[in-house]
Symmetry: C2
Subunit: 309 residues, 2 copies
Amino acid sequence: MVDASLYLGDCREQLRMLPAESVDLVVTSPPYADSRSTTYGGVKPDDYVEWFLPVSAELSRVLKPTGTFVLNIKEKVVNGERHTYVIELILAMRQQGWLWTEEFIWHKKNSYPGKWPNRFRDSWERLLQFNKDRKFHMYQDEVMVPMGDWAERRLKKLSHTDNMRDPSKVGSGFGKRVANWIGRDKAYPTNVLHMATETKNRNHSAVFPDDLPKWFIKLFTQPGDCVLDPFMGSGTTVKVALQMRRNAIGMEILPEYFQLAQDSVDAARISSGQLALLENKDRPLGNSSPKIRVSTRISLNRWDIEPKR
Amino acid sequence: MVDASLYLGDCREQLRMLPAESVDLVVTSPPYADSRSTTYGGVKPDDYVEWFLPVSAELSRVLKPTGTFVLNIKEKVVNGERHTYVIELILAMRQQGWLWTEEFIWHKKNSYPGKWPNRFRDSWERLLQFNKDRKFHMYQDEVMVPMGDWAERRLKKLSHTDNMRDPSKVGSGFGKRVANWIGRDKAYPTNVLHMATETKNRNHSAVFPDDLPKWFIKLFTQPGDCVLDPFMGSGTTVKVALQMRRNAIGMEILPEYFQLAQDSVDAARISSGQLALLENKDRPLGNSSPKIRVSTRISLNRWDIEPKR
DNA sequence: GTTCCGCATGAATCGATAG
DNA sequence: ACTATCGATTCATGCGGAA
């Protein structure tokens, strides 16, 4: 039995409603600078750090001392230069007390196309790992990847498109069923993750693939733990968390995206029910309670009510 | 005919001997913090920025306005955290007037094995691209890579929508100029480089593979241009530059590494002579002058003579 | 059931043009 | 001078339908 709580509203308001030290993992991908300008007030690159710090302060409050914060972000190009707001944010968050434990690289295999005289396609993003304490929960065995001759032969054929269809065969892993590899040699992954972006979702412009939150949820939480995404968008993180039997909290300011997330959670709940039936198929069927309970809280303290600059 | 100049000594001294705006490309991998501690005074992570800024200042002086500086660097872990000296260095170099044009990722496919309780193997490094001006030389066609199977099928028969795709619809995607694609079999690369580390060389601890400097030399210089590596180590950059008919300048403070670099350049010269013979095989042999001229300058102004703190 | 092919689409960036 | 909008450029992926 796991819970999902979805909040409609500005996460800087909604986060105050959460009790301190109640979350095991935060995985989120906040709106990047200058994007989604109509909804988030169009945060200017120069204002980004100032805009984000109140959020990270609240996240520090709600996160357990053993918990982890994974921040997906990438700086944009301004005047031919990479802007510095991301690295400035790292420094500022350390001033807030965060530990900058690690930086994972998300290698986006299908990056946006284009040609420019002075740069190539940008095909990676940062996955910044922050912690409150040097001691945090990490379940490394959950994300081991297959190794050995058999796997290496497969990995060598990566050039062929068909072999890349299954994410479990690619580079750093994301194998779904580690059980399948019992008897094979397994190895720990690295801090480089190879995954394609999601292109099929037409409703939300910036969805990351399910495997991305899935990997971090496996790595940093156990079933029954609590996962939070304060910028849930269409709800990928919440959906995946529920599927993995973690409690989930999601927040979103835009009603359209909030609706998508609700639908997504509904689907996960139904799917979870089916899973429950399958799991119980050798036990007597009957009054099985729903596996996921969803509560939706809608706040009127909308961010976009504030005066725009 | 290309030249190689090797300087034995501290690059902060040696760089002063170079004329201003004479170098087309700097590619280097400076000693990381806390490593090689006996030579450069054992740079502490906290002192790294202060230590490096005089070097980058000199590099700015000797670099042509159209030139590029590629800095291979990675922060180490200190007290369970990624240290911030690299991102602080970026900010400080911008204060010096450098433009932080791009950050490439070097994905080290065969990263050093190991296991730690709270982190995975580090399998990537930063390749920071700095420029003096927004306009710089970049020869993108030199580093194109084969395209995926996608192209063959697609270009075999131009699809209906390729001709019809309405640019006004989304603003993204293929426009009308399908003609650009006819006969195309190569694509421009991205800012993620996949290269294995060099394992053969036991004499120098941190050698990067030949392909790494080769890629940047192809991308940012033409034959006859000048490539500089102020921390040449065993001389990989210089060797590769000579093989590619670029003039090369290398500096190294440690006599042992300097010797390795000299040997490496000798080998490149010999190899170059053989190449010359092959190139001239249909021309009369004879008093062919050596293709590479090497001058070695040894300075007595050794850094380690300065008082240690 | 495979395999193959057609096809839409995406956290982009630059330079020129317009207010 | 400084900012907003627009056109041009580019390619890997997953889905669905066909062989």
